[in-house]
């Protein structure tokens, strides 16, 4: 069955974590949350492949974990509150993770936030991004 069009599909640069994404990303998210406990972190440090194999993830999802491809993880059904546990495992603070996902340097992103954040102007619709 193909995914139905959603009324929020036209918001740019955003993965809305709905039931379709939740279904797709279930084991990916459960793997990530295992890293919020020391036992899970130790297992992943000791043998990443073995730790990942305990969760029924697709090869694509495992590759995105190996690559630490943060947006790809979201595209494959990951949710940020889960994938951020993988970030924390790597010692990456939330704001720096946000910088990586938005394709900005850490300093540029920090400066943008201190200056009031990313403006909604030009960032509400995909069509506005396509014009850029």
């Amino acid at each position: 069955m193909t995914r139905k069009a959603k009324e929020y599909d036209d918001i740019p640069g955003t993965f809305v974590f709905d039931a379709d994404r939740s279904r797709q990303g279930y084991w990916l998210n459960q793997f990530c949350i295992s890293l919020s406990k020391e036992e899970g972190r130790q297992a992943f440090r000791d043998d990443p492949e073995k730790a990942m194999s305990k969760f029924k993830m697709t090869e694509e999802q495992k590759q995105a974990i190996r690559d630490r491809d943060w947006n790809r993880l979201l595209e494959l059904g990951g949710n940020i509150y889960y994938t951020s546990k993988l970030g924390a495992f790597d010692g990456i603070v939330f704001q720096d993770l946000a910088a990586m996902m938005s394709g900005m340097s850490r300093d540029d992103y920090r400066k943008m936030m201190v200056d009031g954040g990313r403006s909604p102007e030009g960032n509400r619709y995909k069509s506005e991004w396509e014009k850029k």
């Binding site: 809305v16 974590f17 279930y26 495992f89 939330f94 704001q95 509400r124």
Partner: protein
């Protein structure tokens, strides 16, 4: 009789808790955030609650992807601050008014809000940060100085409950509180928000104009606020801005007319716009 005398809205940005736990609130980055809480802490001492009914969301701490209750009411005797991957926050255990919580659970279900009852639950920054904002620095050996009834709302998996449903739940909570025959000063907290997006290419979105308008209508025209659609929250305030539906639960539990005694708004705390309101209820 138990009475809801105030409603408090407050962002629950984890970094606010970290700043307090690491004692860096005087740093130039954090000073303007905490300056806006000084009034709140004084106000809170003068208007000390017996019970705080605290509406928040769990961040995959008590609930991972395997169980996603839309509304979960904490009925346990106490709730332990959780390890969210960096060790638990050094703050007191949260104690419940268990009989009152059970009464509210029963009242809500008979009022046709079919909530989930939690007899064991750890609580994360979503709950402890707003308590830290209002009650100040505490160590694990201290007492929070209030009993707390937690209500966890799903805002992680779309769709969160609608603004309208949250408002109606607030009204049902009010009826439950009003029917409890014990003299208690009750405050209700709506936490989370304001505009923020933590994920993907649009991360960092902040909409200060929208946030301020939302606070205006939430206070003065709640019937308008309860009609805000999910798509508007997502588009205008970022994917995580939808947490603001939880402010509607708080507002629904108050009178139509309230007195705004305090407002604080600051950008940024980490990735998020910090918003905070104290509303006095006169019933």
């Amino acid at each position: 009789m138990a009475k809801i005398t105030a409603g408090i809205a407050c962002s629950h940005v984890p970094a606010i808790g970290v700043a307090m736990d690491q004692h860096i609130t005087e740093q130039p980055y954090w000073q303007p955030v905490f300056e806006g809480f000084e009034y709140s802490r004084e106000w809170n001492k003068k208007n000390k609650p017996d019970v705080v009914f605290l509406v928040y969301n769990d961040h995959c701490t008590a609930f991972d992807a395997s169980v996603i209750p839309t509304f979960a009411l904490g009925c346990a005797a106490e709730f332990t601050p959780a390890d969210e991957g960096w060790g638990p926050r050094p703050v007191p255990v949260v104690k419940n008014h268990q009989e009152f919580a059970s009464h509210i659970a029963q009242s809500l279900v008979l009022d046709e809000f079919d909530i989930t009852i939690m007899n064991e639950m750890d609580v994360d920054h979503g709950l402890t940060v707003p308590l830290s904002v209002m009650f100040g620095d505490k160590t694990p050996e201290d007492d929070w100085g209030t009993l707390v009834i937690p209500l966890a709302v799903n805002v992680v998996q779309y769709p969160a409950p609608t603004a309208n449903r949250c408002y109606a739940l607030g009204q049902a909570i009010r009826r439950a509180v009003d029917s409890w025959d014990e003299d208690l000063n009750v405050h209700i907290y709506g936490t989370g928000g304001m505009s923020h997006q933590l994920q993907a290419q649009r991360a960092g979105l902040i909409n200060a104009t929208w946030d301020q308008q939302f606070m205006d209508i939430l206070v003065n025209e709640p019937e308008k606020a309860r009609k805000i659609s999910h798509v508007e929250f997502l588009r205008e305030t970022g994917s995580e801005g939808i947490e603001m539906v939880m402010w509607l639960v708080m507002r629904g539990a108050l009178d139509e007319k309230v007195t705004e005694v305090h407002r604080h708004y600051h950008v940024p705390a980490s990735n998020t716009a910090v918003g905070h309101l104290i509303l006095e209820n006169h019933a």
